[in-house]
Symmetry: C2
Subunit: 378 residues, 2 copies
């Protein structure tokens, strides 16, 4: 069974139980009780396993209850869009119900390929083991493609592992996109030749649906191993289809995801949404906004995201957590401590600001990331 | 310029102004101020037009401010995914900023085809003018395809205009989907032959991204004029691409949309999200949960959705509002009064429950919908 845990805000246990029943019906058959036959009740309506008052209660809101509801996995019809509908579709309109967690039978998870690379695959690509990876972003929008290629070159010369486009680097014209991709890829390749170690450039692809395959095929032709995408902008299941179709590493950007998890009484748990769901659709590295930066996620939420990305989930590979969002150099040690060695440390603006020499800043960043870990190279 | 109005919860005007500035930077260049050149400031960073305390303040939350920020439309790169990113992407992670409205230059809207049918096109298809349309849903999941075809037949014989699959009718097997579509379409066609008036059957298509075109091509081959889709499940821009690609009417289901607009201090205004955005991506009829039913939207929100669907928006056709969600017969008159004649009245469970004869119930429903309007047939 697909086992869902909901947090319900209600005036008391009776109301919470009514909400759970309404949800079990709404998510499956959406008809008045009079139209639910015994057979439909037994096979289709969600099963309420428990409703109880939650230990964790926010004093600013109504009492909190937790309901566990199980759904027949056949109702999800082996597909991701209907899975979203089954576990939370119409209930998303209820401001007092939040989906906290989902557990899936392995047979259901087996319908999904999951990450093509994951933690191990990316380590193999880079030939870097036993330490976190270090990533930066090409920004800001408004600078020239030559400027971005220079950033990429210096970062690669400084020993950085991954460099991605900022998610605001959007070209209305394909030619401008292609020019940036060629220049930045050439810059990291040349730098890699000098350093003797690989640095991956991940272009950002955000285009109308009907043009995305053209973009991906172009970057593959350039010999590029991975891209960044924004699942909430182009569609989660569309990303899943791309992940199955193309032998390319996928880093996800969290733009527009926030509304799905920042509200305490509605939406999804952050770990479920940008942890488990990203993994089901085949993301290899999931960016999220770390605590203590420009954004408001708590430490617990961030660690939960990392847990969702790497805990057992059928046979799906573990995924890289990519904590980001206003990370400063003085946070590197804590990020290493919090997330362990299978983490990508993403520092953007702070790296560009650090010193006149991006190569030097990158070396300093790399040294700090290595401090706690013994690096083993292939 | 793309003019966005944000509602900001802050402790005072100074904090609200800081939030507005952070947003104008975050949504465009996402770097520390030290990296923003004068040229980038002038051409790329959002322009803050005003920040003022809002008149409408909820006593349960912090003071409310409204900020108007204008963005250069070129930053949206003529595409819907990047439009979402530009107006709200990373800001979605801020629990204290809600996007209330967007105004677009006509030249920007002209990049979108919008609804292929809209209000006028669907009236032409049905040959029904000057009254609201009446729609029901095939449900509940768990009944046989023959049973659904019988519901469709009786509804069409009773004079109903539109019958859609429930959004929970999902088949893991294409053959089961095809069987339902053939049977229901045949039932409404035969009934239409008897009544002499058209009734449209709209199958629900929800499938893995890579199978959706196959489903659409099948229903087109069956002579079907329209389908229902769930943009939040399969992707908003994917729906836009389908709308451009296929000569088919699109009704949207609001499943999973709720989280995007039910929270008072984060997300989107409901009218903007299931009004304007649905229209930009080419939806012809947008279902939303009416006030006073099973869901919690307010009357103001619902009327705002209808306004967004039909107010001037470049040259895009107006769209059908489809208020739904636990609507009872005694609500028909009010729905007609609230939404006027260019509305689709969607009654599902209440119609199935009304009487032993669905045909009689449909006739009663049609009569009530006609009461306030003089029907003119072609």
């Amino acid at each position: 069974m697909i086992r869902c845990k909901y947090r319900i805000h209600a005036s008391g246990l009776l109301q919470a139980e009514q909400t759970a029943r309404a949800l079990a019906v709404e998510q499956t058959v959406e008809v008045p009780d009079s139209l639910i036959s015994n057979e439909i009740e037994a096979n289709i309506v969600g099963n309420i396993m428990s409703v109880r008052e939650s230990e964790m209660t926010d004093p600013n809101v109504q009492p909190t209850f937790e309901a566990v509801v199980e759904f027949n996995p056949e109702l999800a019809a082996d597909q991701f869009p209907q899975l979203l509908n089954l576990v939370y579709g119409n209930t998303s309109i209820n401001p007092n119900v939040k989906l906290i967690d989902c557990e899936f039978p392995d047979s259901f998870v087996a319908r999904f390929n999951g990450p093509r690379f994951g933690v191990e695959g990316l380590r193999d690509l880079l030939g870097v083991f036993d330490r976190p990876l270090v990533c930066t972003a090409l920004k800001p929008r408004g600078r020239s493609n030559d400027h971005f290629a220079e950033i990429a070159r210096h970062f690669a010369l400084g020993g950085g592992d991954l460099i991605k486009d900022d998610h605001n680097l959007i070209s209305a014209q394909f030619d401008d996109f292609a020019d940036r991709v060629r220049k930045c890829q050439s810059a990291v390749e040349k730098a890699s030749d000098r350093t003797g170690r690989r640095c991956l450039y991940l272009p950002y692809i955000c285009a109308p649906t009907d043009q995305i395959r053209h973009h991906i095929e172009f970057v593959l032709q350039c010999g590029i191993a991975g891209i960044m995408v924004s699942p909430m902008l182009i569609g989660l299941d569309f990303v899943r289809a791309l992940a199955e179709e193309y032998p390319i590493l996928l880093m996800s950007h969290p733009t527009l995801t926030g509304t799905m998890y920042v509200n305490p009484t509605n939406g999804f748990d952050p770990g479920l949404f940008i942890g488990t769901f990203m993994r089901l659709i085949g993301i290899d590295a999931s960016i999220f906004t770390n605590f203590g930066g420009r954004f408001n996620l708590s430490r617990d939420d961030c660690l939960a995201i990392a847990t969702h990305l790497q805990r057992p989930l059928g046979k799906l590979a573990p995924v890289w957590p990519v904590p980001a969002g206003g990370m400063q150099f003085d946070r590197i040690e804590q990020m290493c401590r919090d997330y362990g060695h299978d983490t990508i440390l993403l520092v953007g603006g702070a790296l560009l600001e650090r010193s006149p020499s991006l190569m030097d800043s990158t070396r300093e960043f790399m040294d700090r990331a290595r401090e706690r870990f013994s690096e083993r190279l292939t």
